[in-house]
Amino acid sequence: MGVLIKGCDIAGMELSKIGAEVGYLFQNPDKQIFATTVKDELSFVMRMNKQNEDEIKETVSKVSHQFHIAHLMDAKCHRLSKGEKQRVALAGIFMRNPEFLILDEPTTGLDDKRKLILGEVLEDVKKQGVGIMLITHDKDFVACHADRVLIIEDNKVLES
C-alpha cells in the first residue's frame, strides 16, 4: 500500500497538491528559502494567490511573531544563521496553515539554545492540532518532544 493523504495515494500526485496538504521542512533550509528578504519569503504564497495587501500584512505579522522572527522581516535570507533560516522556512510553510508537517533533521547544525527555541515553536504548532512527523538522529530532542517514536534501521521498524 502506498502513502495516502486524505485517502488519496500520493503516487503520481502533483507536488503542488501534496504541498498544499502537507508542510515539508527540508534538511537544508538553504534549499527551501528562495526569496531575497524574509518578508518576501513569508508573503510569497499569499501574493501568488493574489490575496489583498492588508490580509498579507496581518498574516505575515502573526506568523512572524509565532516563529520568533518578527525582528528579521527586512533581513536578507542568505545572511541569516542556520537556526533563523530553519524558523523562516517553517514560518513560510505556516503561511498556508498545513494540517500536517514533515520535518527532515530540523536540529542539524543547531546549538542548544536554538534547539530550545525550535522545540518551543514545535510545541506551539502541536497545540494548534497540527500533526508532526519528525525525522531525526537527535535522540534528546525526540525524548523532549515526541509522543510516539519509531526507530527505523535498514527499512525495518526496530522499535515502536
Binding site: E14, L15, S16, K17, I18, G19, A20, Y24, F26, D30, K31, Q32, I33, F34, A35, T36, D40, F44, V45, M48, C77, H78, G92, I93, M95, R96
Partner: protein, 250 residues
C-alpha cells in the same frame, strides 16, 4: 578508461572548435545535418554516452521546439506556407531558419560533449600546454562546472515553490515570468555564495601560492592525435572554401 578516450584533450578541443565553427558558419540545412551526424559519430568515437545526454536533454526539447516555432514565425521572407489573409504566419525561409537553429544547437552541444569526455584536470593541463595561464584555464573549467550547479539551484527552488502548494504548470505566462523574476536574484546569490566557498576552499589548500605548478598528468600527443586534428582543420577549411566558391554552403 577505454583506449578511445585516451586522445589528447587538445585534439578534442580542436575537433570541437572545428565542429562549432562550422555549425555557426554553415547555412545549408543538409550540410548542417551532415555535420550533426559527423559530430555524433565523433562523440561516440571519443567515448561519450550520447544516450544518457539525450535522456537528460529531453526536458529541454519543449524549449528547443518553442524557439524553432518563434524563429519561424518572426521571419516574413519567402513563400507563405501558413497565413491568414495578409498576415504571414509561417514561411519556407522561416521554417528553414528554425531547422538550422536546431542543428546549430545540437552541433554546439555535441562539441561540449566531446570536450567533456576528458577530465577537468586533463583539459586544464592541455590548455596550459598551449601557454594559457593556469588560473585562466582553471577559472574556465570552474565556470563550466557551475552551469549544473545553477541548474540544480533552480530545480531545488522550483521544488520548494511547488511544496508550498503553488502549481507552476497552471500559471499563465505573465505569472510565470513574475515568478522567475522573483527567484532569479536568490538563485544567482546562492550560486555566488557557493563560488565564494569554493574559492576559500581552493585558497586554503594553497591554490596560487607558487608560480609554477607540477602535474601528475602527462600529455603526449600521438600520431593519431595529429591525424585527427589535421583532418578536422583541413575538413573545416575545405568546407568553408567550398562554400565561398559556390556561394551555397555558407
Amino acid at each position: 578508461m577505454s583506449e578511445k578516450r585516451k586522445y589528447d584533450p587538445r585534439t578534442k578541443i580542436i575537433v570541437s572548435l572545428c565542429l562549432s565553427s562550422l555549425g555557426v558558419f554553415v547555412k545549408n540545412p543538409f550540410v548542417l545535418l551532415g555535420i550533426t551526424v559527423i559530430g555524433s559519430l565523433l562523440a561516440l568515437f571519443f567515448g561519450a554516452h550520447l544516450l544518457k545526454v539525450i535522456k537528460r536533454l529531453k526536458r529541454m526539447l519543449a524549449v528547443f521546439l518553442a524557439i524553432i516555432v518563434i524563429q519561424s514565425l518572426f521571419i516574413g521572407e519567402g513563400n507563405v506556407l501558413l497565413g491568414f489573409g495578409q498576415i504571414k504566419i509561417l514561411t519556407d525561409v522561416g521554417l528553414l531558419r528554425g531547422i538550422n537553429f536546431l542543428f546549430r544547437v545540437v552541433i554546439i552541444l555535441l562539441s561540449g560533449i566531446i570536450i567533456s569526455t576528458s577530465s577537468e584536470n586533463e583539459i586544464i593541463y592541455g590548455l596550459t600546454q598551449w601557454k594559457l595561464p593556469y588560473e585562466l584555464g582553471f577559472m574556465t573549467m570552474m565556470g563550466i562546472r557551475f552551469v549544473p550547479v545553477l541548474a540544480e539551484e533552480f530545480k531545488d527552488t522550483m521544488t520548494a515553490i511547488q511544496l508550498r502548494g503553488v502549481d507552476v504548470k497552471a500559471l499563465i505566462i505573465k505569472e510565470k515570468i513574475d515568478l522567475y523574476a522573483y527567484i532569479l536574484t536568490p538563485v544567482v546569490v546562492g550560486a555566488i555564495s557557493k563560488a565564494q566557498a569554493l574559492s576559500l576552499s581552493a585558497e586554503s589548500r594553497g591554490f596560487g601560492v607558487y608560480d609554477k605548478r607540477t602535474s601528475l598528468i602527462e600529455l603526449n600527443p600521438k600520431t593519431r592525435d595529429y591525424i585527427m586534428a589535421s583532418l578536422s582543420i583541413i575538413g573545416t577549411i575545405g568546407l568553408m572554401i567550398l562554400g565561398l566558391n559556390n556561394g551555397k554552403v555558407l
